[in-house]
Symmetry: C2
Subunit: 207 residues, 2 copies
Amino acid sequence: MQLFVPFAGQRPKTRLSEVLTAEERQEFSRAMLADVLEVLERARSGNPDIPAPTVLSTAPLDVDVPVVVDERPLQEAVNARLETAPTAVVMADLALATPEALVRLFSTPGDLVIAAGLGGGTNAFLARDSAFHVDYHGASYLDHLAIAREEGLSVGEVDSHRLAVDVDEPGDLTELFLHGEGASRDWLGDAGFELETTDGRVEVSRE
Amino acid sequence: MQLFVPFAGQRPKTRLSEVLTAEERQEFSRAMLADVLEVLERARSGNPDIPAPTVLSTAPLDVDVPVVVDERPLQEAVNARLETAPTAVVMADLALATPEALVRLFSTPGDLVIAAGLGGGTNAFLARDSAFHVDYHGASYLDHLAIAREEGLSVGEVDSHRLAVDVDEPGDLTELFLHGEGASRDWLGDAGFELETTDGRVEVSRE
């Protein structure tokens, strides 16, 4: 089994540019990647079937795990890896992920195991059959279910709030602030973000 | 064990008023309640430990399950029920809930079992100890963890995307459209909502 964590090295997290500078987005995305790798390491202890992760990066990167550089767009780079099965892909911005949630990804039955992201994304999946391929345009979650259907693959779903939140938009920072436990949550606090109570849900903001 | 589904009979879902009329909000909130009751019924079949639900309503209501009318604000009405333990409370707008997610609520160990909502809410909980009480102001999820800590109660968490999404704000309609399987999802489609692909996540809208 292979496990890849895709990471966009250049200009990461552009949808956070309203609230974070380019330099901050670099730092923050590195902190989230570190959190994901750390949580995967904890998931692997006691679960030897979970493979060691490789970062699939668009540019060279200094981290403590193997890095494969692939400059192609995410979809092409991931599909090249899916020619071998089983292959798992866990996004690098799942800063709320817990070891328990990731263990569920690997222990759920199905030719395709999928964890939906907010807004129709696909935040993590395990393809146990090389007939699966990704399509990240539009609502990839629906597209991936359709691809599985076309290929006759059985589907298992991981129903997890912590895997559903990929930190992409300013509103996601609130979820990280409320539930995060790692370096990226600390980074947000150090950067001056605070909880603000509104009429409905709480939000984070900074001066 | 008791199980309550709180329901605001008058002027429901005001935060959806940008996209739904008052009459539509009434219909839609009733469809979501029906979905929650249906999914609870399916969770109970095969799990006889899950009690039959009672709707805790601010006004008389015509549904197929027992209704208790309590005109007080949600917090007071719920706290009155928590004098008896164990008591579970499942919100009436969890239109993405599945039987599997609700079974997890009842099978997770802990004096307090809690399913967080987006934006710091508390979408479902099971209090196995009468020392627990609710505080729905602000980030109730954090407040509830703090109350459990003060009272020396053990906490179990249900990490579920489907329980994390309470349908309160326009953005939540997208999650329901993508993942819902019941009457409220059908209602949205019939009301003319459609998926729209944006730069990032998909969204629903109507003409």
